[in-house]
Structure formats: structure tokens, C-alpha cells
């Protein structure tokens, strides 16, 4: 049983998604607890996998007993396991939050919603768990298709947002598929470990360069790296809040995981860093994205849209850290996957909670919200402080490592960008604090009116983890450093 866990995390999800409509036909209300149960199972399995990887080393699981490179392999090392726990944890927590939030925003659609929800979760876990590059593409499609549909059930403009996302997503998927195809044609294998052994002989060939460009562009779209982020703001703004929270916390992060995996495991670090300056270009693009995202976020009135642009900026941070490709920056970048996920999920859930209680989305109308929803807004403050990078939050730890890494690389522009963007982040969040706590409501008496516990609890838990992990940042850093030392020379 235990040795089958790598495949069970996927099987549980696929079966769970299959049975959701059947359960929904019996009783509609059961869909949401069922989704929570499935994602909880996936979460538990992922924790166990992380534990096992840390204790006993990398896991290689052969699907159906077929030996790789002929069969599909699920290969789990520290990075996979780390992202697995993150993704499954977010999916599980948001599923609890989703019950009330989705019930309010898109009533009566539980049946398709939760089926898609589980499929999305499973697709993302599949991308992370697999050691086969074509399998990665398949799971990417499963997840993306589910995401398109989930976004489309949002408000009136969501159809257009989803359609745009679908076009961009499909281009991205076909680029990735083409890239994989070129690699396959040249080497005759799809197994990542096998590919990494066969590729070095072919490094001189132009085909590999084209494949590289295809993969980089395709994955840039998936991760919403500036300037290919255009699908993201609309999608996050118009999707139901719970879906926005989940996507912001996981989907782009999984894309970044895939980028790291393809660049550093399938293709070797030396090649993408030294021979072809893939990482160098990416780092400048990311730096531009950090500033552009922050500036655009300042211009927004809609709280969800502002958070979406802030995501564009934060994704820039992660890619910048990864692509500077020294140990400190890489550690910071991967840690920022964790920290950004925690804070952004929390912040989107708060935005959803505000919409749930008041229907307000314009940040200049949030006056007096600090009195009305004290706990929710306190969680928002913690998340926002972490976004700015104020200690003792996890956001500080990751930005600290990023800045340190930039110094190590002796790239002063990046140091300036990292610090400057903190300032900009402070500007767009402080504007909200100002309204929430100091804006005066002249006409009505404000009563305390918190959201239901099932929504409040996940929000508070995310805020608490943001703080706690900030205090015990050495824990995740230790895990990440372990992986980074193994990869970078």
C-alpha cells in the first residue's frame, strides 16, 4: 500500500472526480464535503511523501511495473514533494472555504464545480509527481481544461476572461507539446532522467535551441510571466473568489515548478546558465515584470484585480530568484513559491470574504471594514505585511534571500528592483489599510459582522502560517537548500 502512494495521490483524485456527479445526484450538499475529503486524502499522502523523501531519499515509482524509460515513471525528490504538499494543502484548505463562498457567488452549480475542482487539483498534483515529460503535458492539459471551465462560471465577464485564457493557454500548451516533440524526435525518449542523459550529446544542434525557446515561451505563458501575463488579471478578477484563491496559490506555482524541472533536471543547469543564456534573459524579463506588476497593481480599483497584478509582480520575484541561479537566490525563489502561495491565497480569500458579506470590490469603498470584520481584516494585514516583506513574516525571509542572492550575483539592478518593488507594494497595500481602518463612514453605524466560521477559519490559518513560518523560516529553507545544493554546481 505505502509503496503505491505516488500513484494513489493521482488515482484518488481521478476516482473522486468521477464519483462527484454521482454523489451530487443523490444529494447536492454532499459535493463540497466530498471534495474536501478527496483533497484531504491527497494532502495527507503528500505529507507522507515529503516525509519519506526527507527520511529515505528520492522515490521512483514504476507505473504498472513497467521499467523506465519504456514505462511511465513517477519520480519524487525534495522539490516535488515540497510543491506537492503546498499544492495539496492549498487545495484542501480552499475547498473548506469554497463551500460558503461558491454557494454565495455561483449558487446551484455544485455538481460541475466540485468535479472540476478535484480534477484541477489532481491535474496539478500530476504535473508535480510525474517523471515523464509527456505525462507532464497530459496533466497540464487536465488541469488547464478544468481551470478554463472553473473560471467561466464566475460573473458576467468571466466567459470572455475564460475564453482569452483558453486561447493563451492553448498556445502555451501547443508550444510545450512542440518542444517536447522536438526533444522526443531527437532522443527517442520521454523519461526525464533518460532525457537528461541523452541530451548532452545533442547540445550543439539548433533543434534543441528551438525546443528550448518553445518550452520557455510556453511555460512563461502558463506562469503568467510578464509580458505574457495578459490572461491572468481578467481570469483572477472574474472567476469565483474561491477559484481565484486556489489558482493564485497553486496553478502558476506549478508552472514555475515545471519550468525549474525542465530547465534544471531535463536540460542541465550548466547548459541553460552558461552555454545558452536562457536564465540570464529570463532574469531580466522577470525584473521588468516585478516593477511592471507593482506599478499596474497601484493603478487598480478592484481589489481582486489589484491582487492579480500583484501576483504578476510576485511571480517575477520567483522567476528572478530561480534564474539568477546562484544558491542563495534559488533558495529565495523557491521559498517565495511557498510564501507567495500562502499570502496570496489568504488575501484572495479575504477579498472573497468581503464580497461575501458586502459585495464591495472597489478598494475606496472599503471604509470602516476594520470594525465590521476585524478578524478577516487582521488576516489581510498580516498577508499584506508579508507581501511587502516586513519581518517576522515568511515574505521577509524569502525576499531577504532574494536580495542576498542578487548581491551575491553582484547585480545591483536586481537589488534595486527587489527593494524598490517592496516600496511599491507598500504603497498599494497601505492605501487599503488607510481606507479599511481610517476611512470614516459618515452615515451608518458599523456593526461587527464576520463571515461564517468555515470561511474565517482557513483565512486565519493562512495568516497564522504566514507568521509562524516567518518565525521558523529555517525549516523550509533547510529543505530547499538541500535540494538546491544537489542541483547547482
Amino acid at each position: 500500500m505505502i509503496e503505491h502512494f505516488p500513484v494513489l495521490i493521482i488515482a484518488v483524485g481521478l476516482l473522486g472526480a468521477f464519483f462527484t456527479p454521482i454523489i451530487g445526484l443523490i444529494r447536492k450538499e454532499l459535493c463540497s464535503p466530498w471534495a474536501s475529503l478527496i483533497t484531504l486524502l491527497q494532502f495527507l499522502i503528500s505529507i507522507f511523501l515529503l516525509y519519506q523523501v526527507l527520511a529515505a531519499g528520492n522515490i521512483s515509482y514504476w507505473l504498472g511495473g513497467w521499467q523506465p524509460p519504456w514505462g511511465i515513471e513517477y519520480a519524487i525528490d525534495i522539490l516535488n514533494a515540497f510543491v506537492l504538499v503546498l499544492v495539496a494543502g492549498v487545495c484542501f484548505s480552499v475547498s473548506i472555504y469554497a463551500k460558503k463562498s461558491l454557494g454565495f457567488e455561483v449558487p446551484g452549480k455544485e455538481l460541475p464545480l466540485y468535479t472540476l475542482y478535484i480534477l484541477l487539483s489532481t491535474g496539478m498534483l500530476g504535473i508535480v509527481v510525474t517523471g515523464d515529460i509527456f505525462n507532464l503535458y497530459v496533466f497540464l492539459e487536465i488541469g488547464s481544461l478544468a481551470a478554463y471551465a472553473l473560471i467561466a462560471v464566475g460573473d458576467r465577464q468571466s466567459l470572455m476572461a475564460s475564453f482569452n485564457y483558453m486561447i493563451m493557454g492553448t498556445i502555451s500548451a501547443s508550444f510545450i507539446l512542440l518542444g517536447i516533440g522536438y526533444l522526443y524526435v531527437m532522443t527517442g525518449t520521454l523519461n526525464m532522467a533518460d532525457l537528461s542523459e541523452r541530451l548532452p550529446e545533442l547540445y550543439g544542434r539548433p533543434v534543441i535551441l528551438v525546443a528550448l525557446a518553445l518550452l520557455v515561451v510556453g511555460l512563461s505563458i502558463k506562469t503568467a510571466l510578464f509580458p505574457l501575463h495578459t490572461w491572468l488579471p481578467d481570469a483572477y478578477t472574474h472567476a469565483p473568489s474561491a477559484v481565484s484563491a486556489m489558482l493564485a496559490g497553486t496553478f502558476t506555482k506549478v508552472g514555475i515548478y515545471a519550468l525549474i524541472r525542465v530547465m534544471f533536471t531535463v536540460i542541465s543547469p550548466e547548459y541553460v546558465i552558461e552555454t545558452v543564456p536562457v536564465m540570464n534573459i529570463l532574469s531580466w524579463v522577470a525584473a521588468a515584470g516585478i516593477v511592471a506588476g507593482s506599478v499596474l497593481a497601484i493603478a487598480q480599483y478592484d481589489i481582486k484585480r489589484m491582487l492579480a497584478y500583484s501576483s504578476v509582480s510576485q511571480i517575477g520575484y520567483i522567476i528572478l530568484g530561480v534564474s539568477m541561479a546562484n544558491k542563495l537566490a534559488m533558495t529565495g525563489g523557491i521559498l517565495h513559491i511557498l510564501s507567495h502561495s500562502l499570502m496570496k491565497v489568504g488575501l484572495f480569500m479575504v477579498a472573497g470574504a468581503i464580497i461575501y458579506r458586502t459585495g464591495i470590490r472597489n478598494i475606496y469603498q472599503l471604509k470602516g471594514m476594520g470594525k465590521k470584520m476585524p478578524f478577516t481584516m487582521a488576516a489581510f494585514v498580516i498577508g499584506a505585511l508579508s507581501m511587502i516583506g516586513i519581518p517576522p513574516t515568511i515574505g521577509f525571509a524569502s525576499k531577504f534571500y532574494l536580495a542576498w542572492g542578487a548581491l551575491e550575483a553582484e547585480n545591483w539592478v536586481f537589488v534595486a528592483v527587489i527593494l524598490l518593488s517592496s516600496l511599491l507594494t507598500a504603497v498599494y497595500f497601505w492605501r487599503i489599510f488607510e481606507n479599511v481602518y481610517f476611512g470614516v463612514h459618515e452615515h451608518e453605524e458599523i456593526k461587527k459582522d464576520e463571515v461564517p466560521l468555515s470561511m474565517l477559519l482557513p483565512i486565519l490559518i493562512f495568516a497564522a502560517i504566514t507568521l509562524l513560518l516567518g518565525l521558523f523560516a529555517s525549516l523550509p529553507i533547510g529543505v530547499i537548500e538541500h535540494w538546491v545544493t544537489g542541483v547547482l554546481p
Binding site: V210, T230, L296, I390, L423, V427, E434, S474
Partner: protein, 597 residues
């Protein structure tokens, strides 16, 4: 065996209990918390305590020696006085922010490493802004935002310095940085922002007058003095600071002269007094460092008292301008008396606290044969007396009767002021109490005949000058014929010099700073639109019209575009644009990869 807790942590952690208490229990708790912290101070042992491993480094929350203890004592005393003064305030948030603010200042004082110092530094900046915002008006909101921007900038500079230092030396230990180098300059810059060294001072005089009445009392005590403490520890003997400090001392006074708002005058006086301390740090002798510590100690007490007095006037009279106040001595004699104790202390009148501390720094400059510095500091001292002890009380409590029917402030305010006044006189009369806790052994005797005579002379001549030209000092045109014309011409020339060239020079950094802040806010409303506006204006200037459009229509279009700013938020671009972008990027990447390899 650790049997004490870092005092900053006590205040910060204790603050979280405030919302759970009600009524009398809450008020008792608010006063008890600083008392507990004070008791905690006595249990602190010299050396390094509370070292917590974090990310591979040791965070030290309890670096204890005589210097940090001296600052620790006065910070806790001030937290108590400030809280007593604020006891009537009903909003939990204000108390919470105040404790967080005072606690983080204490945290900085006892930090043994740069990282925990930075953490507390940031908490201090971010909690301080709430003490301003709780005034709940537009002026305070804007001032708070600017305060925040400046402090975030200072914090970033500090952080950058710390990180560079970490990379260079691999150590986070908080020690002397007077060796120079990029890292220490960045850290110095961060510290100087908080110390309000001109031209980085604008936040102080901008924000403190807008803070809440009780919040200003806290603000006046902690931010600048924490900066003095860290400068004292890291940059003592850094010579350039002498000149910064001396310039600050005079600058603050000169600028205070122009103020019409009582708390703004006091805010500029902070800059002047901190100037003494900065100068003392720059000298770096044992006497001057003792003097800095002593002066920081007494400054917190008397400046707190002055802000409390001014706050009491604003609280009961509802006005804050000289031109609107006057004649309050009849209804507020107690406030006047207590305020005067503070005013005489800041003016270094014998038997008041300022006398025993300020004179140490001034003497140190004499010992070092720094004649210009000595002269500047003495000049500033006379100016301080003129402004704080004569001008402010004269126009507030005496002068033309404004007809305001103000009562004495609530009992808790009077008690707080009374306690602070008592401490000021106590230290003035028994300086040994203060001298015993200074970092170095003290063999300085303030009460010599020569010193007292000299001080009294200066003060009396200043007072004489004031009463001769008091109408000029109101900064209103009013001619009185019986004043000797020399005084008149002299005072006019002086006032012209202060009002025109000096004030223009002093205003410059303030104006630049405010303009940058306002511009950032304007730009922040809609950056993309702003950029496109600039672009189209440039095109219009270049061509005289937009392509395919007659000139006057173009001009009208541009005018409307500027008028409609910020307009609707970002325009959405059609998906086709993104697709083309993808293709372009793809082509660029592939070609670039090919060229490079």
C-alpha cells in the same frame, strides 16, 4: 538560567491583551504593563542574553550593558508617563499602537544583532504611523502616508546596508561601523532618516504636529532617540556627525522661529536638541558620549512634558495656532506651571534637568577645542530658551486674550505632566541619580559658579531681547514706536534673514520631498495613463499636432486627456495582441539563442 524577558517583548506581547480587558481593569493594566517592564529591567544581567538561532544566525534580543540600560530606563519611564497621559482615550487601537511602538523602540535598544534590530526598527515605523492616523483627518492621513514612505525608504537603506555587511563579513553582530565603506554609509543613511538629520528631517516636522494629542507624546520620545542610541553605538567618533549635529541644532531653532503651530514649533525643537546629541556622538570622547546619553535621557522627559503641555492646550482650547491662542493663564494655571518646568529644562536653566545634561555636550566641544561648534551650540541654546520658554508660553498663555474659555485638562493628563515635571526637577537638583547610570564614569560637575553665572547671563540677555522685540517675533507686521530704532532695524534685518534666505534654503528639501511624495501619489492613480499622457504630450510638442489631425483639435484632445486624468483604470488589450507578443518573443528567443551559441 534566564529569569528575565527582553523588555520590548513584554510590552509588545502585553499589548495583545488590551482588547480583552474592559473598564477599570483595562486602565489598571495599561499602567501596570510599563511598571512590570520596569521591574523586569532590574533583573537584566549584563552580557548577552536571549540569543535565538534563526536561519543559521544568532538573533540576540538581550544585549545588556550600561548604555542600553540607560536608554532602557528612560524608555520605560516614558512609556509609563505617555500611557498615563493617554489613559482617557477610549480607542484600544491607539493604546495598542503606542505599546507596540514603545516596545519596538526598547527592542532596538536591547538588540545585539542587525537582523532583530531591523525587525524592531520596522515595527517601530509601521506602528508609529498609526499614532498619526488616529487623528482621523485628511491632513493626518497625508502626513502619515509621507511619514511611512520616508521610513520605508530609510528601512530599505538600512536593510541594504545590513545585507551588504552580511555578505562582506558574514556576521550580523551589531557593533561599531565607524570604519566607513558602502555598507556602513547605507546603514548610517537609514539611521539618519530616523534621527531627522537635515535634509532628511522633513517627515518629523510634517507628521508630529498632525499626530493625535497623546500619540505625539510617544512619537516625540522614541523614534529620534532610538536613532541616537544606534548612532551612539555604531558611529561614535564619526567626525562628520559633529558638523551635522551643530548645523542641526541651529537649523532646528531657526526654523522653529517661523512656526505658528505650537506643536510644529516643538517638533523643530526636537531636531535642534537631537542636533546636540548627534554632535556629541561625532566628538566621541567619554565626556561627550556621557553627555549624549544624559541629554537623550533628560530630553525624553522634558520634551514629553512640553508635548503634553501643548497637547493639553490643544485638547481643551481646540486651537493650535499662536494667532488663535492667548490669555490662557487664568484658566489653565496648572498646565502653564508644568509646561514651564519643561520649558526651563529644555533651556538648561540651573536646577532643571537640561542644565546637567546639555552642558556636558557643550563642555565636551570646548574640551576638544571645537570653537565654532561650541558657538553654534550656545547660540542654539539661547534660541531654544527664546522660543520654548518665552515665545510659546507668552503667546499661548499670556499676550492678547483670545477669549477662549479653556479648562484644565483631565486629571490623568495633569498627573502625567506632574510626574514628568517632578523627574525633571529631581534630576536637575540631584544630577548624581542620572550620572550613576551613564555608560562611563562621570567626573563632571555641572554646578560651578562660573557655569551658573554664564548660563544665567545668556538666558537673561535672551529674555531681555525677547521682551524688547516680542511683537516682531509674532511674525506679524506691527510697529511700536517707543522701541529703540536700532533694535527695530536689527530685529527686522534678523527676521528678514530668517524669513527669506534661511527659510527658503531650509524649505527646499521639505518642498522637494513633499513634491516627490505628491507626484508619486498622482502617478499611482493610473500609471499607464500617466505614461501615455506624457508620450502624447511629447508627440504633440514635437509635431505640433497628432498624426492625421488638425493642430487645434489635437490640442483640445490633449487638454481633455489631462483634465480627465486618472479616468478609467487600465484599458484591456485584446487577446490578439498577446498572441502576437507570444510569437515575437518566441522568435526573439530562438534567434538570440542561436546567435549566442
Amino acid at each position: 538560567m534566564i529569569d528575565w524577558v527582553p523588555p520590548g517583548i513584554v510590552l509588545i506581547a502585553g499589548a495583545f491583551l488590551i482588547p480583552f480587558l474592559k473598564g477599570r481593569a483595562k486602565r489598571a493594566y495599561l499602567l501596570l504593563l510599563p511598571v512590570i517592564t520596569f521591574i523586569d529591567l532590574f533583573f537584566m544581567a549584563d552580557g548577552t542574553g536571549w540569543a535565538v538561532p534563526f536561519m543559521g544566525y544568532n538573533l540576540v534580543f538581550g544585549q545588556v550593558d550600561r548604555l542600553s540600560m540607560a536608554f532602557g530606563y528612560v524608555f520605560v519611564i516614558m512609556a509609563f508617563i505617555g500611557m498615563l497621559y493617554a489613559l482617557h482615550v477610549k480607542e484600544d487601537g491607539q493604546h495598542f499602537a503606542a505599546f507596540l511602538y514603545a516596545g519596538s523602540a526598547l527592542g532596538v535598544v536591547f538588540s545585539g544583532d542587525f537582523l532583530s534590530l531591523f525587525v524592531f526598527w520596522e515595527i517601530m515605523a509601521f506602528s508609529g504611523v498609526f499614532l498619526i492616523w488616529y487623528s482621523r483627518d485628511k491632513a493626518s492621513r497625508d502626513a502619515g502616508m509621507r511619514y511611512l514612505l520616508v521610513h520605508v525608504f530609510g528601512g530599505l537603506s538600512l536593510l541594504a546596508g545590513i545585507v551588504i555587511r552580511l555578505v562582506n563579513t558574514g556576521s550580523l553582530e551589531f557593533g561599531s561601523l565607524a570604519h566607513g565603506g558602502l555598507d556602513s554609509y547605507l546603514i548610517l543613511l537609514g539611521f539618519m532618516v530616523n534621527a531627522a538629520v537635515p535634509p532628511l528631517h522633513a517627515w518629523l516636522s510634517d507628521a508630529y504636529p498632525e499626530a493625535t494629542i497623546t500619540g505625539a507624546v510617544f512619537l516625540s520620545a522614541f523614534t529620534t532617540k532610538t536613532a541616537v542610541y544606534v548612532l551612539l553605538r555604531a558611529f561614535s567618533g564619526f567626525e562628520i556627525l559633529i558638523w551635522f549635529g551643530a548645523a542641526m541644532a541651529v537649523f532646528g531653532v531657526a526654523y522653529a522661529l517661523l512656526q505658528n503651530d505650537i506643536r510644529r514649533l516643538l517638533a523643530y525643537e526636537i531636531i535642534s536638541q537631537v542636533g546636540y546629541m548627534i554632535a556629541g556622538i561625532g566628538m566621541g570622547t567619554m565626556l561627550s558620549l556621557n553627555g549624549v546619553t544624559a541629554h537623550a535621557f533628560t530630553h525624553i522627559l522634558y520634551k514629553g512634558l512640553l508635548f503634553m503641555g501643548a497637547g493639553a492646550v490643544i485638547y481643551t482650547a481646540g486651537k493650535r495656532k499662536f494667532t488663535e491662542l492667548g490669555g490662557l493663564y487664568r484658566t489653565m494655571p496648572l498646565t502653564l506651571g508644568l509646561y514651564m518646568v519643561g520649558a526651563l529644562s529644555i533651556s538648561a536653566v540651573p536646577f532643571f534637568s537640561g542644565f546637567v545634561s546639555k552642558s556636558m555636550i557643550v563642555s565636551a566641544s570646548a574640551h576638544e577645542h571645537l570653537a565654532p561648534v561650541w558657538l553654534l551650540l550656545t547660540l542654539a541654546s539661547a534660541g531654544t530658551f527664546l522660543l520654548v520658554a518665552l515665545r510659546l508660553p507668552y503667546f499661548t498663555f499670556f499676550g492678547k486674550d483670545s477669549g477662549i474659555k479653556a479648562k484644565e485638562p483631565p486629571v490623568n493628563m495633569l498627573l502625567a505632566m506632574g510626574f514628568a515635571a517632578f523627574l525633571n526637577i529631581l534630576i536637575g537638583v540631584y544630577p548624581a541619580i542620572l550620572y550613576n547610570i551613564l555608560p562611563f564614569p562621570v567626573d563632571y560637575v555641572p554646578y560651578t559658579g562660573e557655569h551658573i553665572v554664564w548660563t544665567v547671563q545668556i538666558l537673561l540677555f535672551t529674555a531681555l531681547g525677547f521682551f524688547l522685540m516680542r511683537d516682531k517675533l509674532m511674525s506679524q507686521p506691527a510697529i511700536s514706536l517707543d522701541i529703540d530704532w536700532i533694535y527695530r532695524k536689527g530685529s527686522r534685518a534678523f527676521m528678514w534673514f530668517v524669513e527669506k534666505p534661511l527659510s527658503a534654503a531650509a524649505q527646499l528639501p521639505v518642498r522637494i520631498f513633499l513634491r516627490i511624495a505628491d507626484y508619486l501619489m498622482w502617478l499611482g492613480k493610473n500609471p499607464t495613463r500617466a505614461v501615455s499622457l506624457y508620450a502624447s504630450t511629447a508627440i504633440f510638442r514635437l509635431l505640433g499636432r497628432f498624426p492625421g489631425m488638425p493642430p487645434h483639435a489635437s490640442e483640445k484632445l490633449l487638454e481633455n486627456a489631462w483634465k480627465n486624468y486618472p479616468g478609467e483604470p487600465v484599458k484591456k488589450s485584446p487577446v490578439g495582441d498577446s498572441v502576437i507578443l507570444v510569437l515575437i518573443l518566441m522568435a526573439v528567443y530562438a534567434i538570440y539563442y542561436y546567435i549566442v551559441t
